[in-house]
């Protein structure tokens, strides 16, 4: 019998086990709602527990809701319902009516010991845990351990060193206490019985340890990842090490996906708007005033546009890179982004970014437009190049530290930009405390922008772009 677990226990235990499996899936980050659980129980009733692959297919249909979840589900199912090796053979025999009267299975040596001490162990019979261990009742044991694990909150494990602590907690929750006391009692007087009980306890401990280690692998491994991601998104982008770029890129893609999903949806709307009364009445003239052909207004879609002007000189370049990476990761939601780069002169780099990977594009841009920063000239160049296309749907993002080497920053051009556009946002990688110190013109600049913000880590960047997208309508 290639059963899920060989067992003679009726449906009650099965659905308990199914519930524990659902818990297990939730631990694997598959969200299973109570309604899904009900579906799963219904599916299991239909499919039966005898045919493993049948049950797997059926449960997959009810519980795994995407391709990603399907892979996780399949692995989890195989882990959880692995056919138990060796033991069932002895087990099957044991489930007969006189199970209690029969000597407990296991190694012959152990069986012999237990037989000798049958009377002594009699006092422990009736203890659910002991009975399950003695009769090797797989399903009862796994359910008990699973319940105890939930009680001990084993899913909160976060460090490798916590394993021992959780093993203890689970053992306590299981009621190992009673067995231990029995063992202590037997230790002096009845060495054989002591051995038997200790062997069973060791088995139990082994199982619990497995369970805790599994929990560590599932939960703590994920927690460690989360921790790394979190600290990275708070780190100053300028300080990020090259070795962390891959992780950062992944993190950024995920943020971009999240933003795109959140804001992409709202963009789509029904095309049909309200009734166009005037046109409907006019058309009705030909049908004697009866409006056979109603005319509907169209919902106009605003075509928002972002123009990003980035300082790519020296220390600011790293930040420019991230801003541009982020904006281009959002191309689905922000299809008409144009980007400009400057340090001395300014030029449009949209095509570069559209055709090349961001890192390469940045290098090229540095090569082309590098030099001593001159905001005045850059703004002038921008005015000539694109000011005519700045209108009320345009958001201009300027990224720079506003340190202009004492030269004129051409605030007048900035003011004009502010007047024409929907929004001018100045992002400064420097901390607010440094604004206005030395040759920083930030305090002047600030007055001529709609928004001026410090932006030097991924979290700030995400928040700013999120805000930008929600204001877009």
């Amino acid at each position: 019998m290639a059963g899920v677990r060989d067992r003679a226990t009726p449906a009650a235990t099965s659905s308990d086990q199914l519930l524990a499996f659902v818990q297990y899936l939730r631990g694997k980050k598959i969200p299973v709602s109570p309604a899904d659980t009900l579906d799963a129980i219904e599916v299991a009733e239909l499919m039966g527990y005898e045919n493993r692959s049948l049950l797997k297919n059926g449960l997959a249909a009810a519980l795994a809701k995407s391709r990603h979840e399907l892979t996780v589900f399949e692995a989890a199912f195989d882990d959880y319902f692995q056919p138990t090796p060796e033991r069932p053979a002895a087990n099957a025999k044991n489930h007969s009516d006189e199970a209690d009267a029969l000597p407990p299975p296991g190694t012959p040596e152990q069986a012999g010991l237990a037989e000798a001490n049958d009377d002594l162990l009699e006092g422990l019979r009736g203890n659910a845990l002991f009975d399950a261990l003695e009769s090797q009742d797989e399903s009862a044991l796994s359910v008990a351990i699973e319940t105890a694990a939930v009680e001990a909150k084993v899913e909160e494990i976060s460090l490798f060193t916590q394993r021992g602590q959780y093993v203890r907690k689970i053992l306590d929750a299981l009621g190992d206490e009673a067995l231990r006391e029995a063992a202590i009692e037997f230790e002096q007087s009845e060495p054989a019985a002591f051995e038997a009980v200790q062997a069973l306890r060791e088995q139990l401990r082994e199982r619990v340890r497995d369970r805790v280690e599994r929990a560590y692998l599932i939960h703590a491994a994920a927690a460690t990842e989360d921790l790394l991601d979190e600290s990275l998104s708070k780190l100053k982008l300028g300080n990020i090490d090259h070795s962390q770029m891959a992780r950062l890129k992944r993190l950024m893609d995920r943020m971009a996906r999240k933003l795109a999903a959140r804001h992409g949806r709202r963009r789509r709307r029904y095309r049909r708007g309200k009734l166009h009364v005037g046109e409907t009445v006019r058309r009705a003239i030909s049908t004697d005033g009866i409006p056979f052909h109603p005319r509907w207004r169209k919902v106009e879609r605003k075509r928002p546009q972002i123009m990003a002007i980035c300082d790519v000189s020296g220390s600011v370049a790293a930040y420019a890179k991230f801003l541009l990476m982020f904006l281009y990761a959002l191309q689905d939601v922000l299809p008409r982004t144009r980007s400009f780069a400057f340090s001395a002169a300014l030029g449009e780099v949209s095509d570069l970014f559209a055709s090349l990977p961001v890192e390469q594009a940045i290098e090229l841009v540095n090569l082309k437009y590098g030099g001593a920063t001159d905001y005045g000239r850059a703004l002038q160049d921008f005015s000539e190049l694109a000011l005519a296309e700045v209108n009320r749907a345009t958001t201009v993002i300027i990224l720079g530290d506003a340190r202009n080497n004492q030269a004129d920053l051409r605030v007048d051009l900035l003011a004009e930009l502010k007047a024409r556009s929907k929004k001018v946002i100045w992002l400064n990688p420097e901390s607010t405390r440094l604004w206005g110190t030395g040759d920083s013109e930030m305090l002047v600049v600030k007055r001529h922008c709609h928004v001026a913000k410090e932006c030097n880590n991924l979290n700030q960047l995400e928040r700013i772009i999120d805000k930008l997208l929600s204001d877009r309508r």
């Binding site: 899904d36 049948l54 297919n57 059926g58 995407s66 999903a261 789509r268 029904y270």
Partner: protein, 312 residues
């Protein structure tokens, strides 16, 4: 527990056989999900790359249970007047105009405004009755007398709002029409939704469905599919062809060839009386399999390797 509407779908092996004789080779997983859909009366959300037979599954299912198939093709901007129901506005207007004459008779002898109004009220619902209701696919599927198969194709193309509209239909098999009340399904149809995964569907919708992901088939399965669809092709040729296609799928292509393309290719090889899969023949017919010029160029560059893989 077992649904009496669709006795053909009561047993997994029977489903596989019935589908096979209808020309659709399905895996146990597919058969299991179909069986569950019939038994639990839940819609099935089918996902997978284009051309693996998602739509075909629904069609075959309709054939197997011998019920009509109602198909709703989704697109951006699809709304309830196209999917659920619409009032026949023109007919309503026409009838009011025609019946204008009768108004005199109805109101004949009525004293004062109040009495005229109360007489008119007796007829007020006439124009919002089922006679003036244009059923669209969703409503049609619910109205079908012996159940049927409802196919909601490419749900990911529809707007997000449309999904919410579907929820009532999918979970309770009913539609609420403000003027008429709630219309329940005569007998519940089998519902299939397909998605190409161009966007994430809402959790509410996913929650109401059974899930079926159809991946590209294994070599053996695809060979069986081709053999059943194109029986004229020699067995050895079928095997070569399928192995070739599998090798091509492992390349980095813009669009990997799906089952339907494999079948098309097999058909064209039959037409060309091809006996063996060799270089020139593949080169000439590669455009059946690959739909982008770049892809064809990539594949041609790898041709010797692919042919070696095909030879096994």
């Amino acid at each position: 527990m077992t649904d009496t509407h669709y006795p053909a779908l009561g047993d997994i092996d029977a489903i596989q056989q019935a589908f096979e004789s209808a020309g659709y080779i399905c895996t146990t997983r597919i058969a299991t999900v179909v069986r569950l859909a019939a038994a639990l009366e839940k819609p099935v959300l089918i996902e997978g790359p284009p051309g693996v037979g998602k739509t075909e599954l629904a069609k075959t299912c309709a054939m197997v249970v011998d019920r009509p198939l109602v198909r709703l093709q989704c697109y951006e901007g699809l709304d309830e007047s196209k999917a659920l129901y619409e009032w026949k506005y023109g007919k309503q207007l026409l009838y009011t105009q025609l019946l204008k004459e009768q108004l005199g008779d109805v109101l004949d002898g009525a004293k004062g405004l109040n009495e005229s109004m109360s007489r008119l009220h007796q007829f007020s619902d006439v124009f919002y009755s089922e006679d003036f209701l244009e059923s669209r696919p969703l409503l049609k599927a619910l109205e079908a007398e012996n159940g049927g198969v409802l196919l909601i194709d490419e749900i990911d193309k529809a707007d997000f709002e449309f999904e919410s509209l579907l929820l009532e239909v999918l979970s309770d098999f009913q539609v609420s029409i403000p003027e008429l009340g709630t219309i329940h399904a005569q007998s519940k149809p089998l519902v299939f939704l397909t998605s190409n995964d161009t966007r994430d569907l809402s959790d509410a919708l996913k929650r109401r469905c059974l899930h079926l992901h159809i991946p590209f088939p294994s070599v053996e399965l695809e060979a069986r599919i081709v053999a059943s669809r194109v029986p004229d092709l020699a067995q050895s040729m079928t095997d070569q062809l399928v192995r070739f296609v599998h090798a091509i799928r492992s390349l980095d292509l813009k669009k990997a060839p799906a089952i339907s393309e494999t079948v098309d290719w097999a058909k064209s090889l039959v037409l060309l009386h091809a006996r063996d899969l060799d270089g020139p023949l593949v080169q000439d017919t590669l455009n059946v399999l690959l739909k982008y010029e770049e892809d064809i160029q990539i594949a041609e560059g790898q041709l010797p390797k692919l042919l070696a893989a095909a030879a096994g």
